[in-house]
Assembly symmetry: C2
Homo-oligomer: 117 residues x 2
């Protein structure tokens, strides 16, 4: 067994920075492949391959337009990621850090654990 396929889910697909860049480049609307090639400054086959991965996890849709293929963002598969990280949001919010500290202190007093270190 090896690492999960990049096409296994959005988590894996989006772990690659270039693929995030591609998605970022598509926020303003659909774009042909060559547009992305120019924008990201990487080889065309590379872009096509990354787009395939994104397509397999449903993060982009394609539409034929003459000899071009217009790729469009479909961010819905990112929702599970959003939902998962959201559960941890409190951890980097300073306000919550303070609250956590206070709660921890209260808990320790409650336990009466005065055994020095």
């Amino acid at each position: 067994m090896a690492r999960s396929a990049t096409t296994a889910d959005a988590f894996n697909a989006v772990a690659e920075g270039r693929r995030r860049q591609i998605l970022d480049a598509l926020v303003d609307g659909e774009r042909p492949v060559n547009d992305l090639v120019t924008r990201l400054g990487i080889a065309q086959p590379l872009v096509s391959k990354h787009l395939r991965v994104l397509r397999e996890v449903g993060l982009v849709d394609v539409r034929d337009h003459g000899r071009q293929r217009l790729y469009q963002l479909n961010a819905r598969p990112l929702k599970p990621i959003h939902d998962w990280v959201k559960g941890y949001e409190r951890s980097w919010s300073e306000r919550f850090d303070l609250l956590d500290a206070v709660l921890l202190e209260l808990k320790e007093e409650e336990n009466g654990d005065g055994s020095g270190e």
Copy 2:
């Protein structure tokens, strides 16, 4: 060149489901390795290896406690993920989808692009 290292950043570290499970198991507080082994039902070396990855990206901290090692969650490195996905939140919110549709329509009218399809 191959795939980015799992220890490259939180995106890669968290792409693995088991590592997300480990983080999830640590939300209630620090736990020794064996606790996680039992909880996740996977081999101990596997857990240790996943914990190493999580440690290298700063998602967990360790504390020695006798012959045990207590691992504690540190979710701050997840913030970049949160920030990134947040930008796409509108895409799966139906309200925003509607708003987008309206805006698109307005834009098209403004352009006066009446060329049928």
